[in-house]
Symmetry: C2
Subunit: 116 residues, 2 copies
DNA sequence: TGTGCAATTAGCAAATTAGCTAATGATTGA
DNA sequence: TCAATCATTAGCTAATTTGCTAATTGCACA
């Protein structure tokens, strides 16, 4: 459920593709392996990364382990992240504009310059 | 602007931290390097990854290069991705429920079994 | 025009990741 | 219980990433 794990999980193309498959149906490891041209162990590893990040859940049904999307975690995490960076209403927070204004002050005596 | 580049860029903790800094002010490479305990070249590389993904933009001001967030690209990409996986109203699309129902059919003659 | 600082590029070592095959659980059904 | 099948773990190699320092490029200004 950590941001780190979620973004690490989403950084892989095959893993995002797995999520896409799981968005329309619950599937087992081997069913996913068929759809990809990858070995079952490889898929299994990807699934464990996704599960560890809280993006999918699994349930054993007899011989099979069915994986399905955990859509709430996905959406909440991404939305939370985006909101932290850009709270509604635009790119910059109020405070930031103040900071941006401050940057315009120049020092003359120091040799070290600052941008602005 | 590709999904691949965006998620690769977001996969790094330091890069997400850079985005957080840029969400409240435009900053130069060296200003960012101060805030992190990292060398300027390292920050510069992170910034180029972020810029290449379309998440930040840069503008040279004299000696300095100021970086700032490209919030639209960030939000649109994440929202688009999330929406593709979970269109409004719940985890599964209509079609998916049909598929899930289909899975319940069993074959008797084949030795290969299917989950469900 | 030459010196100094900001930024980037080049080149390197350590760590991580992604794929594979082989081996080891887990579960069903004869 | 044995054989078959699904899933996962172990162990390996190739490729990528991340940090660094050193070298190079771009600008400002004395």
């Amino acid at each position: 459920m950590s941001l780190d794990k979620v973004f690490e999980a989403l950084a892989s193309g095959p893993r995002r593709e797995i999520l896409a498959y799981l968005s329309s149906a619950e599937l087992s490891t081997s069913e996913l392996a068929e759809r990809f041209k990858m070995s079952a162990p490889t898929i299994s590893r990807h699934l464990s990364v996704l599960e560890n990040a809280g993006l999918v859940t699994s349930a054993r049904h007899g011989q099979f382990v069915l994986y399905k999307l955990a859509p709430d975690n996905l959406v909440n995490t991404l939305a939370g992240f985006a909101f932290e960076l850009c709270p509604v209403g635009g790119p910059l927070k109020r405070e930031s504009r103040k900071l941006a204004a401050q940057k315009k002050t120049k020092t003359k005596t120091k040799t070290v310059r600052k941008p602005g």
